[in-house]
Symmetry: C2
Subunit: 302 residues, 2 copies
């Protein structure tokens, strides 16, 4: 493994100069610069990022912890994160916590100990406890998709209540009064969407049957069985609202609909479009900008 020392020797300069050249810092004769670059190329030198990271306390890796990598939503998220990170010279370390708080804890600690540049996390149900030990440090952290309570941290969410409210109202206004609903269990997302659902009914002064609402694991299988259950009610619903794309896929399958296999295209037209305004709460230091505690802003999303 060729080190910066080898380069310095071969180029007849000090390691400091080599470092300056590589970091594109001023105060180096262009002549020397060229010479160093030539040696770098010739020896095929690549700086050791571990050493660099240790000394400069900077990493170019962003840790992304998703709750379920098989969920198309998180696939889109990870792809988007990766693209954005790439564009800024960062790389993404993708971790899958599988909705498992223990795994999440392990990964959070790993990312901390690896001194990553930042963490993006979609939390599991019981994140809060072990989360504070990360947030207290100065690793910029953003929580996405779900809320984590009792911890001050940047949070990017959609307005779940409003979204579910709009969808439910839409159905009600078109004459579908018996709306079954399948929500993900445990997550704040599911809970908030149910609120929106109930709110819509309340506004129209209709009392939804409690039989219509099912909370279950956010998987296609469970959407399937939940839908069958709904359809087998003595007075089955005439519409179904699902809070999650996998649940929707299962529901469509159960209802005998033909399903397109093109993800994000014809499969789930309603749900893959942004259902409501996106909100972001900022709390902790972020990558490039200064901290902005407890602020709420509405980003322009196109």
């Amino acid at each position: 493994m060729v080190s910066i020392k080898d380069v310095a020797e071969a180029a007849g300069v000090s390691t400091a100069t080599v470092s300056r050249v590589l970091a594109d810092k001023p105060h180096v004769r262009s002549e020397v610069r060229d010479q160093v670059m030539a040696v770098v190329k010739q020896l095929n030198y690549r700086p050791n990022r571990v050493a660099r990271n240790l000394r400069s306390r900077k990493s170019t890796i962003i840790g992304l912890i998703v709750s379920d990598i098989e969920n198309p939503f998180f696939q889109q998220v990870s792809r988007a994160v990766e693209d954005a990170a790439h564009g800024q010279g960062y790389s993404v370390m993708l971790c899958n916590n599988d909705e498992d708080a223990e795994k999440e804890k392990k990964y959070l600690r790993l990312l901390r100990d690896e001194n990553v540049a930042g963490i993006i996390l979609s939390p599991t149900r019981q994140t809060a406890d072990h989360f504070s030990e990360i947030v207290d440090l100065d690793i910029p952290t953003v929580v996405i998709d779900r809320r984590v309570s009792n911890v001050e941290v940047d949070n990017i969410l959609i307005d779940n209540v409003q979204a579910a409210h709009a969808m439910t109202t839409h159905l009600l206004e078109h004459g579908y009064g018996r709306i079954g609903a399948i929500f993900g269990i445990g997550s704040t997302t599911g809970r908030e969407r149910r609120q929106g659902y109930l709110k819509a009914f309340k506004e129209q002064n209709i009392q939804p049957s409690s039989d219509w609402v099912i909370h279950t694991n956010p998987r296609a299988e469970d959407g399937f069985t939940a839908t069958l259950k709904l359809l087998q009610l003595p007075e089955p619903p005439n519409a179904i609202l699902t809070s999650n794309s996998l649940l929707a896929a299962g529901a469509l399958h159960a209802s005998g609909k033909k399903v397109s296999p093109f993800p994000g295209k014809s499969l789930l037209p309603a749900l893959t479009r942004r259902p409501g305004p996106a909100w972001s709460y900022r709390h902790s230091p972020s990558l490039n900008s200064p901290p902005m505690k407890s602020a709420i802003r509405r980003p322009s999303y196109s």
Copy 2:
């Protein structure tokens, strides 16, 4: 950030001793060991992995580069890799090269420079060139799913020729003589599976029309359009063989079949089962076992 030095001071021992305790090495009085552990717990000390990695030249991160994270196959792979790695105390850094050789190159270099413990790679079409610069180093590397030519490296594959041959033969023997076939373009996988397809025809002394064979991008959309094309032939095929699950999904959709959204379950019964014996070629140093150049073995897969 509390360092090993702080722990040493607080425990009244040297950093060497602390290190010994943490690494569970012998030659430490149990009394001292307990004392150190107590301080570690009290100060909530966690060793800095970057420093550790630098000094010991060992990382516990395995880099996994997949060609397309949206492909269910690679989802299963990454989940399996992650589980196995987890079980051995490693973590997985998942990189998505998006079938893009440039991205792959970037990631390979990153993993190298980050000094990962090992690399698992499903290569893109033109991997070979920039690949050798990694393989020459002593980072254990395994290539999966596809072949990479001109480079000696461990390779884990299924027997694509035999698999496609078996499937084609099955169809022929059941009286389906006009078998359309859709293969992934560019990958060795697609090429080898075509070989098996053709071999089966040859054995039965049937001459397949070249119109029946389509090479296209391994995506659901492309499987869809390819199938439509096949079905619009003056004499359309009476069976279709696809070389990839996404292609199959598109094909099923195009043919009007109802598709289940449960990944890996009812969707693609034929293709998600292992189609043939799995082969692994070993060339480079692997994580725990000594190198075993140019050997071929048949692992027991249950």
